[in-house]
Symmetry: C2
Subunit: 305 residues, 2 copies
């Protein structure tokens, strides 16, 4: 028996299917560990952080949280956050909200009503970009609940559809707090994802970077007991000294890090080795990996000398 | 123009597509909040925790962590953990490992080598069950990266394929630590997921329950700085007084909780309201929700009197 379908009908039937690149096959035998893959990688497969697009948030007694900014996705917010840093707006700020399985959020806490002088409080939203604005998109072919296509853009977790591209709310990604008005955020309040990635926030908030060091600080603060995780009293605030642009510190005070390039062969090997992980403990290769389950490697830059 | 396909070819083409129940349509207008839905729910849409399958882990100065056990999925491990509790094995234990974006894990820390007397150290794995063993499966139709079908079984996050059904490693789910041997765990060491849900662990570890109160305690311990997040010294251990079966405490020392039934109309309304969330802040309904992004409501039982 034969069945008859018009091309239009068939296209409709197939439009619900996964398309795009195929998931790579399982490697032979046990998969290498991330440490093995990093050890075997080439220097050219790494890039150093740009000090002009790196923020240091120093928590006395706890350590340094390092945020890589994504000016390609949120140019106006990145420019504004750097202006706020340079005018001293963030000095003596604090984490004021920690909502379990959601976000840690910080603000100018010494005087919340103090307006910025050079930077601004409000900018137009930068939720998504035209797809054509971001040419380098390293596709992760595994199925995703929230977007037709996901992957990495220069180390940042991202997604796109036929028309738009955006950063996704994976663990460690940093976004811009706002009020109900989409254009009410500017970077005076920022948050980082500390729980199961709330991908429903994608395209509804401006995402401007990723914590590349110090997530264990941001994720382990006591949870706030006020509404939506705000601390009830200033005594509970988790204070940081300042948020500085790395370029504004003398070189010896910087923390030189490098990120594995997400368009490198080693990164592709890493992703596929975790997708098909097989070793003495994990004996059943899964064959799939979620976007937010991928860890983009970060390491200290080897010092000459 | 017409195209010709055999049924077998067409079945092959379509097998890559999502099947199963359709995603419900968007509600009209703004979606109700979880608080609204809970307030409008019927008493019959909730069930109380069974004290015989509930564990209390009390952290002095921090509070009570409550774990609902899932004997339907891990009967032997649940029986053993209760036997361990009743022989006093867990008294003066501690969280000994906190790996950021992964797990908090606890054990008998006072004397790790002390063997159980009534309970046992090792049981055969209970990773999955025959699908037919779990008849009540409340399907979540949204696409999932890791499993062909996901949903809820009596409030627990779960998945299944044509042959097997298993509990999934969503935020807050509790599993059984083991060595490389699949049958080397028994419940003397347990862990809870505290970060982005590591679904690659599904079907490779025994999952026996879910934290239904106190996740903010388990998720905010300082991260261990030893290998895979173990604390380097006993001084860092996060100590609990004991792990008790709720039924073994007098009623006035219990914490009466109830869980919204995941086969209730109110739960279906809740899931669809979050899937299509639309309110003053979230203006762009997503139309999809991930399994581990659903929160199963828990509340205190209203006290008579």
């Amino acid at each position: 028996m034969r069945m008859f379908f018009t091309p239009a009908l068939l296209a409709g039937l197939l439009s619900a299917c996964q398309t795009g690149p195929a998931i790579p096959a399982a490697p032979e035998g046990n998969t290498p560990s991330p440490a093995d893959i990093i050890a075997a990688s080439q220097p050219s497969e790494w890039r150093t952080l740009d000090p002009e697009n790196t923020l240091y948030m120093d928590f006395p007694g706890k350590g340094r949280v390092i945020i890589e900014l994504a000016p390609a996705f949120a140019p106006n917010h990145v420019t504004n956050v750097k202006a706020l840093s340079r005018e001293g707006y963030f000095a003596n700020g604090a984490v004021t909200r920690v909502q379990d399985n959601f976000v840690s959020q910080w603000a100018q806490a010494a005087d919340p009503a103090r307006p910025p002088k050079v930077g601004v409080e409000k900018l137009n939203a930068e939720f998504t970009l035209p797809r054509t604005a971001i040419p380098g998109f390293d596709i992760l072919p595994d199925p995703d609940t929230y977007a037709p296509e996901v992957g990495f853009v220069n180390g940042m977790y991202a997604a796109r559809d036929k028309g738009r591209v955006w950063l996704t709310h994976c663990y460690g990604m940093v976004g811009v707090g706002r009020e109900n008005d989409e254009n009410s955020g500017g970077g005076t309040e920022l948050y980082v994802i500390i729980g199961h990635s709330p991908r429903n926030l994608d395209r509804q908030l401006t995402v401007l970077g990723r914590v590349v060091q110090g997530m264990e600080i941001m994720s382990s603060f006591p949870r706030g007991t006020g509404d939506i995780g705000f601390y009830k009293t200033p005594e509970e605030y988790q204070r940081y000294a300042d948020i500085k642009v790395a370029a504004d510190l003398p070189p010896h005070q910087r923390t030189p890090l490098e990120i594995m390039k997400t368009d490198s062969a080693s990164f592709a090997t890493l992703v596929n080795s975790r997708r098909w992980r097989k070793d003495d403990f994990y004996t059943k290769p899964v064959g799939r990996i979620g976007l937010c389950n991928v860890t983009v490697p970060v390491r200290a830059v080897a010092q000459a000398g």
